[in-house]
Symmetry: C2
Subunit: 274 residues, 2 copies
């Protein structure tokens, strides 16, 4: 098992990939980004996938990443098989498969491009949420509704401030509406970038908690779109579900930066906790 | 070039796949499902991908399909390379690559499962739209705002009734809000199924038409979730964009069946028409 001694690795180090002789790409998946039971967060893994995809691309930014979560992924050495697709001046395509000890665990389609600073032609506004200092801290060890926040690595690595309006579940009064909002930033002090946005697009607890279905909701397939380079500071994340039925749940994320610009969106299909 | 004589093929025939000796899977892509310039509709292609994915799956229904559109796909013979992933009692994974004359043109991750008839635990309601007979017909040859509907194959194969509230663009008065709603059904008389839902999840004109940006918006990456088996009859489709910026556009679809049940969702990243 990998050791987790010393100060936690910065996000960019924890998601780093490197080429090895023979042309392969490898990563050391960091045990600090778990969601419990040594299972790594799906957004963290997408950031690793994104870094592998840009290695050989003419473009520096992942703008669309769709991944199937074939099985749970734990920490430790992983290999990334990158199959490049067509590449042009506007965008490039690649397929990326991440494999650990247990074989392939993530298979992804990645589109890379070069994000600019063009003003939006049309933009749906950001919801109105109190500033981070008026929201509920959900760091591991914090008390929420008289209970300590579970000591999962993800919640230690990502500072999370829950919008009180959507945090009824945290104080034992689920709202009945599967919506959650929170301000987030990396605890290591680094500013958001497109790779951090891949993380933020799957960073909140399942919205099914808001309808009283506590328990983890494993991601089956997740698509993230990165729409702009984020400004420094907190990002606001909103997750909501449209339909919960037959053991399935969708989760729709929108992520805005500190200037109120939409910087990422995601949608996932997940299994509903029993 | 493939010929398009005789009556148009039914949807199930036009999207059929078959095994060939040696273990491959092939399809004859039907020229009747184009969006102009012999380019086939992205949803039509996803239905072909979905049929290839269920061939070797223990499950009959595609429930999550994410595809990168590597290049435009025209009609004619195509091969489908299916790489199965883990398969269990609840769901199975596969990767599917579709290739035509010009090489691979679609690369997809597909999750298959067995959809049941469980009632939703939570469901966001369907928008209020006039019945199909009070909506605007957008069949090829129909007049919309004094102009004939373009004679693209897709609009002949899918009967499309536009909600007047979101069809200002069709009469020369774009609403300024990138939202479109329409009732749709297959012109061949067949009832919707999960494969038709893959088609319906990319069936409307670009929502950028509603903000006065006429022209096609090529899909870069599209994810469709199929949430339930649709009831017979019309489906209601709503497409909307959250952000239009820097030459990129997202499109978010929700599809309800004739009973008002959410049966599919999709999101795509597309290039904005100039």
């Amino acid at each position: 098992m990998p050791q987790n001694d010393g100060p936690p690795a910065r996000f960019d180090v924890a998601t780093a990939v490197r080429r090895v002789e023979g042309g392969g790409v490898v990563a050391d998946l960091d045990p600090g980004w778990d969601v419990g039971e040594s299972i790594l967060n799906g957004g963290y893994l997408l950031a690793v996938i994104g870094r592998a995809a840009v290695l050989d691309s003419p473009h520096p930014h992942p703008v669309a990443v769709s991944a199937s979560y074939l099985r749970a992924t734990g920490p430790g050495p992983a290999t990334l098989t990158v199959t490049p697709g067509p590449a042009g001046r506007t965008l490039a395509h690649a397929s990326v498969v991440l494999a650990g000890d247990g074989g392939p665990s993530l298979a992804a389609q990645v589109t890379t491009a070069t994000l600019g600073d063009a003003d939006p032609v049309y933009s749906r506004p950001m919801p109105d949420v109190p500033p981070p200092e008026e929201c509920l801290s959900a760091r591991a060890g914090d008390q929420l509704g008289g209970h300590p926040v579970p000591a999962i690595g993800l919640r230690e690595r990502v500072e999370t401030r829950l919008d009180p309006a959507t945090a009824g579940w945290a104080v034992g009064r689920p709202s009945g509406e599967p919506v959650m909002r929170a301000w987030v930033r990396l605890t290591d002090g680094s500013e958001p970038d497109p790779f951090a946005l891949l993380l933020f697009a799957d960073v909140l607890p399942p919205t099914s908690w808001s309808i009283g279905r506590m328990g983890w909701a494993p991601t089956v397939q997740l698509q993230v779109l990165v729409r702009a380079l984020p400004a420094p500071g907190w990002c606001l994340v909103e997750a909501s579900a449209s339909e919960v039925a037959g053991g399935w749940l969708d989760e729709d994320y929108r992520v805005w930066d500190s200037t109120g610009r939409l910087v990422a969106q995601s949608r996932q299909l997940a299994r509903l906790p029993r």
